[in-house]
Symmetry: C2
Subunit: 413 residues, 2 copies
């Protein structure tokens, strides 16, 4: 049965004709144009963006963040990328900006921040500039002066404005996250199939990554790009959430060995031209105990009610309220550990959050991981996560994987 | 030949009796004690640390950084970890601190920063506190008030003091990085062996990770912990540095297919109880051309002179000066792209840097990646990286892998 499903899905993946496409140059331009309203409201002459996901969002340039500052600068309709010498050809080949300006190295004889300050003055910086920091953050041991010290302009944070813009996804972004979810599902099928008593999580995960990657590369024939630093291709694993350790929602890998009766919590994703999805499932090794069945059923009920609550006009808080009310009314408060979920896009987590303290109104185009969990020390963790799109009508699953217990039992014999 | 070397190394790994050990509780305590001098000099009542590698350095707690703040607080000899509810059991099991204090969730009805401010007041916060930030940085969409607003104490940055402390490694740290380098070497052997014309980088990397992981797990029998978020076990790959793309030193994965004549630049590492090493090699697919031999020879000469310059009492700048002088005198300035290297430890890059602008004096116990590179558009990139320990006498290689061209040719027939 699992083999048939796997084989059909694998063929489907290979036969899929409409492969995902990277974000187009026009969309990067349009994003920068949309920011202009916030820039005008803040009265800034130009903007400077440091965080790698923000540079990627505004220019399409994905890079390895190091001690060497990289900044996207916008001045009205003009855009430039400020990079160290070693990134010049890379930026020229991949960044959707008007021009690339480089500095030799960090820290070098002249600190790059001084060169950037000169560049900003040449671009017309007078009284005030915006962006996500008055200087490069202390990444990997970086040290340096603030731009406001070097230019006598003042800094006005615009990161919240940009974050708010990033919360609602465009159709092209949703398409990439949907494709990410498709490959996360494929990796998860392989994970479920390869997990067995006596094997270790690292062993199974490495094998799954190799197999799923091969399928993705066969489908994309060289056109696939993760646009992600350090990760490529579909991946699925456990992050230590095996047996009693699955009661730790943010466990790290412990290279546990699977045993009969273990409760398992999985995770699967695939970077797709910079974008991510999240798929998680609770599985059980062998016939579930009554306690496992009971916790699983409550978890599924919680996820059902939370997904159904993801509708435009409702607040993010109301989703978490609904879950917390159920938890309280069913005497499950001791098993509660965290809010319901988070937005997802170029980062694995981003705001708004499905949390009683987040009163953001949900809008079509927002995406959420919906992942209420129950954690019972000794027994394990119970959490599914699906990536859900808020639409004008019913919430839509971007992840597509069986949710019922009978389909999530790993045979032990 | 490669098979014999591989087999001997694999047996060596399995037979290795002195497996690496995690940092002991006493060393975490000793690190916090050493910080007290800086705290007294700055006149702070207590310290608050947010960055995950700093929390790991001071407490041994590795975690997934998200929108939920996690802080290590020290007040004199007392230490506590402030975590969201979902990390309580995880922190209690793994953090070397006196106690764990939790808040329900972020943002929740009462913002966690308000609860932390109360905790700090109870710990005796009066006029001033130190650490690496006056509030949690904007990780994954986090927003919140500063602690100085909530406590009326002022914030004094101590991150540079801690960074300086982290620059010199203890014997236990060096042992972990040496063990990381040993497994990086093993992964690199597999990478070299499996790379072949017509295969793709992602395919080979996934295969190598699976094989090398299996060997490490066999050697450690369950005692291995990466203490790293999202990575586990030995890994080796190309990050897109294949053929002409290898001329981009910070290329990202492009899923390139290997072809005859390609210049390749590799990278290999292994997280080992939180610590990293770096091993990189330039390889050629088939018989190298004269141009490849020439660039390779210059690169090797540069690395030789740079490694030899890593001696106590000399400045970091002097190493980079020596390389830049050679580059200039041999007419290679067009091929220069970046400084010589960086310190390495709990992060892949950290200060000081082997750069003309970094005048830090080298000391025994400092580690450097020594990786001068030459980049020739069309032909490719030429860079080895070794992880080198500064000692009282000669610089010591922690990485151990052939450096000469004849040992780095991938057969193409």
């Amino acid at each position: 049965m699992a083999d048939v499903r796997q084989s059909a899905r694998a063929q489907g993946a290979r036969a899929h004709s409409a492969l995902a496409q990277p974000i187009e140059a026009a969309e990067y331009r349009e994003r920068r144009e949309r920011l202009l309203a916030s820039e005008e409201a803040a009265g800034v002459d130009l903007t400077v963006w440091w965080a790698n996901h923000r540079v990627l969002y505004l220019s399409g340039f994905a890079f390895v963040p190091t001690e060497r500052p990289i900044a996207l600068v916008t001045a009205g309709a003009e855009s430039l990328l400020f990079v160290p010498r070693l990134e010049v050809e890379h930026a020229e080949a991949y960044a959707h900006v008007d021009r690339v300006v480089s500095y030799p190295e960090y820290p070098d004889r002249v600190h790059p921040m001084r060169l950037l300050a000169e560049e900003l003055k040449a671009l017309g910086l007078g009284r005030r500039f915006g962006g996500d920091g008055d200087g490069y953050p202390k990444v990997m041991g970086y040290r340096g002066p603030r731009l406001s010290e070097l230019t006598s302009a003042e800094f006005e944070p615009l990161d919240d404005a940009l974050e708010t813009m990033m919360q609602v996804k465009s159709p092209a972004e949703v398409a990439l996250i949907r494709e990410s979810a498709r490959w996360a599902g494929r990796a998860h099928e392989l994970l479920q199939e390869r997990t067995a008593v006596g094997r270790s999580e690292t062993e199974v995960e490495a094998e799954v990554a190799a197999l799923a990657n091969a399928e993705l590369l066969a489908a994309y024939q060289g056109a696939y790009r993760p646009l992600s630093w350090g990760r490529s291709g579909p991946q699925a694993g456990y992050r230590g959430q095996i047996g009693a350790h699955s009661a730790l929602p943010h466990s790290l890998t412990i290279n546990a060995v699977f045993g009969p009766g273990d409760t398992l919590v999985t995770g699967a994703t695939c970077p797709m031209f910079g974008y991510w999805s999240e798929l998680e499932r609770t599985m059980v090794m062998g016939e579930p105990s009554d306690a496992q069945r009971d916790a699983f059923a409550h978890m599924l009920a919680l996820q059902d009610l939370a997904i159904d609550a993801c509708r435009p006009g409702r607040s993010c808080a109301s989703v978490d309220e609904a879950v917390r009310t159920y938890v309280r009314e069913h005497g499950l408060s001791d098993a509660w550990r965290h809010h319901v979920g988070h937005n997802i896009g170029l980062r694995y987590h981003e705001g708004p959050f499905l949390d009683v303290g987040d009163h953001t109104e949900m809008q079509p185009g927002m995406l959420f991981t919906v992942e209420p969990g129950l954690y019972l020390p000794g027994l394990g963790g119970f959490r599914h996560s699906d990536t859900i799109l808020v639409t004008e009508s019913a919430p839509e699953f971007l992840t597509d994987y069986p949710r019922e217990l009978e389909r999530l039992i790993v045979p032990v014999s």
